[in-house]
């Protein structure tokens, strides 16, 4: 992986991102805007299952409204996420927070799909916890040293 991050950091796209200081903050800002859409889309489905919002609608109607927006924002997140990885390969790919976050994004997406169709309440609470954890882990990539020896991120 260290070899791969070394190679990736020398690609022309990576070098372009590294030499233009505005790119990373801009991409991160777009990433956060998309997180807002993704998080609230997942929450609106979960809140409907829990009966906190949208009681004038069926769960199917709520899912039909928010699931496409969750998928759309996840596409934006994937694209901006890839740009961040290419721009700072070692910071992201060697971080324990990054890989745990990726696992939880996959689980969170699958769980949100599931509860939007089955309205399983305990799973819904778990879904909320997972999405909040995803945000925490995203921010913790910048502080990956808190994981001690589990982190291989270069900047301590």
């Amino acid at each position: 992986m260290t070899q791969f991050t070394g190679w990736l950091s020398q690609t022309s796209l990576s070098l372009t991102i590294q030499t233009h200081e505005w790119v990373i903050p801009t991409v991160q800002s777009i990433h956060i805007v998309a997180i807002g859409v993704a998080l609230v889309s997942a929450f609106m489905i979960a809140f409907r299952v829990l009966g906190w919002t949208g009681s004038d609608q069926t769960l199917a109607e709520t899912t039909a409204r928010f699931w496409p927006w969750l998928l759309g924002s996840l596409c934006v997140l994937l694209l901006t996420g890839v740009l961040m990885v290419v721009g700072e390969p070692a910071r992201e790919l060697l971080a324990f927070s990054f890989w745990l976050k990726m696992c939880l994004v996959a689980i969170g997406t699958a769980l949100t799909w599931w509860i939007g169709r089955s309205s399983a309440r305990p799973l819904t609470v778990l879904t909320l916890i997972i999405w909040v954890s995803v945000i925490f882990l995203g921010r913790l990539i910048a502080y990956d040293h808190i994981w001690g020896s589990w982190s291989h991120s270069p900047k301590a």
């Binding site: 997180i35 807002g36 001690g148």
Partner: protein, 196 residues
């Protein structure tokens, strides 16, 4: 808080710079600075809060613009999201204020921080104006696919301002250096904190 008032009195300095450094000197600010985990924790909660503020407000704005949820009455959408938006705003403001104390002078003079605060005020003004105009007659357009022009303008201004606020916030992080009294201790590993 007592320490904060004391240091203001002792310095006899009511200037803004004096207040800012007094704020930085409080025990609260010090303990956040000296903790390895508190600042990242506050930042994470701040992101959870601000993404919820933006996301919930966007649901209402997109409804008024006729882009999403157009078959539901606007007032229903507002009922669904407004409480969550306010709760998330309180969380975001509180965590933001705590982070501010750790490095108050630097943030206060940061241009992106100032722009962000100005935009937050504008977003507030926008809500007040909307409540005094289009919202007064909501019964008349509640079930229409789009709000009247003043409502659509308010929704558009709201979306643009909140996106800009997110950008400013991220730029604050890139234009200020975090003051920290804590350096990660290479001898402490997460494994040590876990049961063997």
């Amino acid at each position: 808080m007592v320490a904060f008032a004391e240091s203001l009195k002792n310095k006899g300095d009511m200037s803004i710079d004096g207040a800012l450094s007094a704020l930085e000197a409080t025990r609260l600010a010090g303990s956040i600075r000296n903790s390895l985990y508190l600042f990242p924790f506050l930042e994470s909660l701040h992101v959870v809060g601000l993404t919820m503020v933006f996301g919930t407000i966007a649901v209402l704005d997109l409804r008024m613009l006729g882009i999403a949820s157009t078959r539901r009455p606007v007032s229903r959408i507002a009922m669904d999201v407004e409480t969550w938006a306010w709760m998330a705003f309180v969380l975001t403001a509180a965590t933001g204020a705590l982070m501010f104390t750790t490095n108050a002078t630097v943030y206060y003079y940061n241009i992106f921080f100032r722009l962000k605060m100005a935009m937050l005020v504008l977003a507030g003004v926008n809500v007040v104006m909307f409540n005094r105009t289009a919202r007064r007659s909501i019964e008349r357009w509640n079930t229409d696919a789009t709000a009247p022009s003043s409502g659509r303008a308010a929704a558009m201004v709201s979306l643009l301002l909140w996106i800009a606020i997110i950008f400013m916030g991220r730029w604050i992080g890139f234009t200020t250096t975090r003051v920290t009294g804590s350096k990660p201790d290479p001898n402490i590993n997460i494994e040590d904190l876990l049961p063997k």
